[in-house]
Amino acid sequence: MTLKYDSTLKYAETDEWAKVEDDVVVVGISDYAQDALSDIVYVELPEVGDEIGAGDAVATVESVKAASDINSPVSGEVIEVNEALEDTPEMINEDPYGAWIFKVKASDLAELDALMDADAYEAFNENREH
């Protein structure tokens, strides 16, 4: 099946996507990630107000057979979480790029330079084992 890539977003090797809105970074997981997990049953969200570092595991996305840590691409403070995911975690399967997980007020936007663009991420995935 063909995986989708949103060309307006940046991507981490650990399959998170990031969207920048002024100094706020919105984070979700890619189509590749939701496909690998298959039916998502639960999302453990961080708490608003948490201070986090780039690379920290701040959330978890669970299917029946696996639990995946979601790493924040940037450091900063969690300012919003997508509470709709508590009731309908499957939104991430249906619309991975629309169903954001959390938003971070970034302390250093330069950290985003370490992320890939859509083409680079797609190429990265070609070399991975499914």
């Binding site: 708490e47 299917s63 029946v64 639990a67």
Partner: protein, 459 residues
């Protein structure tokens, strides 16, 4: 050959198919220097001989079918209906594995789900897991769960001095590598006020026992007040309790407990010299994803028929590995089945009756013993089936007398665990003790108080 069905011809045929001449070839990877050690073990026996041998070893023990017993302290002689053994002796139950293939394990799974439901009713809680190893490890798992719920920001576990000494030991063993503080049981006095005073921003969990290890029963109001005080400080409350008592008394779920633990040994599991027992573990639904231990859930199959599966498995070791909520794999499934059959067979009326009988017999014993001039029972302290008896001489001497002269196994010697109580015995009376046994006990205690009787404790 015992349990090995192969004939010589079959072995030869199999070796030929593998392409070997000798079994040795299969073990070529084993370092030659260490291969085929001579094991110094007793000679093998036939079934007939082993039965004779085990019968002799068993006969060497003074068991509770032959001796009256007033020993409790965490393991109890309660009635076990015959139907329990009938059910768990069915090969379909006891020789099955963990129900990882639910289509052919619905017996195990439904029985476990029913156990979860009945124990939820018993404890007044919303979720019950499919078992931990025993009452002690259940407390340890409660502590780990609480620290998890508190997101690792609170690192103190406050424990009551009247929580079973072995439970406190196991809790400390479990948490020795977790950088947690376990305090509270150094306090003197056995009320909750000192514990509440110690509760602060770093307290993840407060653990108490009701009825406590010394038998004392706290009122539901006292317990609710404790829960409120603990919650006001942002901590959680775990209560260890007695499942038989819950046939009669207010359950911890009704007075604010966040986690309820117990040992289900009393629900039909027998004494068995200490195990296998049953760790009962119950908690509020909002914490379910931080819990440990297996959970059975209801669902449907592809045809829409109701069925049961192990669920929320991502908490567990086989998926989450180092991030699992616990490393537990095998639990005490058959002992949980025992508890389910027991609860089903006794039902609400039978369980209540067992609790009432224990209450009445224990209170009768306490009153009669308190009347003996040399002994004291704090009868104004409410209790369920166990109480503390202050004795005129060391408990070990009294128990020696009880055994030798009356064939009675006396209560638990508290001098090791609670030296501040002096010569104190923890006496337990259940529905299994007859009036005659109790009256004999009272007579024996009176006699044993006589300082003229010299008792040398053999050891």
């Amino acid at each position: 050959m015992r349990y090995i069905p192969h004939t010589e011809a079959e072995r030869q045929a199999m070796m030929a198919a593998i392409g070997i001449q000798d079994i040795d070839e299969l073990f070529a990877a084993v370092p030659a220097d260490y291969r085929y050690p001579q094991l110094d073990l007793p000679e093998p026996m036939t079934e007939m001989e082993v039965m004779r041998e085990l019968e002799m070893m068993a006969a060497d023990n003074a068991n509770l079918r032959e001796f009256a017993s007033f020993l409790g302290a965490g393991a109890y002689n309660h009635f076990v209906p015959a139907v329990v053994d009938t059910i768990i002796s069915r090969g379909e139950f006891y020789t099955a594995y963990t129900p990882y293939q639910p289509e052919i394990s619905q017996g195990t799974l439904q029985a476990a789900f029913e156990y979860q439901s009945m124990v939820a009713a018993l404890t007044g809680m919303e979720v019950v897991n499919a078992s931990h190893y025993d009452g002690a490890t259940a407390v340890a798992e409660a502590a780990v769960m609480a620290v998890n719920i508190q997101r690792h920001k609170r690192r103190t576990i406050l424990i009551s001095p009247t929580l079973h000494p072995q439970y406190r030991q196991v809790l400390r063993t479990y948490t020795q590598g977790m950088d947690l503080k376990i305090v509270g049981d150094e306090l003197e006095g056995h009320d909750f006020h000192a514990l509440i005073d110690m509760c602060n921003k770093d307290t993840a969990l407060v653990v108490v026992q009701n009825p406590d290890f010394l038998g004392k029963l706290h009122t539901p109001q006292e317990m609710q007040d404790l829960a409120d005080a603990v919650h006001a400080k942002g901590a959680l409350l775990a209560v260890a309790t007695d499942p038989i008592a819950l046939g009669l008394l207010t359950p911890p779920g009704d007075y604010g407990a966040d986690i309820v633990t117990a040992d289900g040994q009393v629900l039909g599991n027998g004494l068995n010299f200490g195990g296998p027992y049953l760790g009962i573990f119950a908690f509020r639904a909002k914490h379910m994803r931080k819990s440990s231990g297996r959970l059975v859930g209801e669902t449907v199959d592809v045809d829409g028929n109701k069925g049961y599966v192990l669920t929320l498995s991502t908490r567990e070791q086989h998926i989450r590995r180092e991030k699992a909520t616990s490393n537990i794999c095998s639990n005490q499934a058959l002992n949980a089945l025992v508890a389910a059959v027991y609860l089903a067979a006794m039902g609400k009326h039978g369980l209540r009756k067992a609790a009432e009988l224990s209450w009445h017999k224990a209170h009768y014993a306490a009153q009669k013993i308190d009347q003996l001039p040399a002994y004291g029972v704090a009868n104004d302290t409410p209790f369920f089936k166990e109480f503390v008896v202050t004795c005129p001489r060391p408990v070990s001497e009294i128990n020696q007398y009880l055994l030798e002269e009356y064939g009675i196994i006396g209560g638990y010697d508290l001098s090791q665990d609670y030296p501040e109580l002096g010569n104190a015995m923890l006496l337990c009376v259940t529905e299994m003790n007859t009036r005659e046994e109790i009256d004999d006990l009272v007579t024996a205690l009176q006699e044993a108080a006589n300082p003229q009787i010299r008792l040398e404790v053999t050891q």
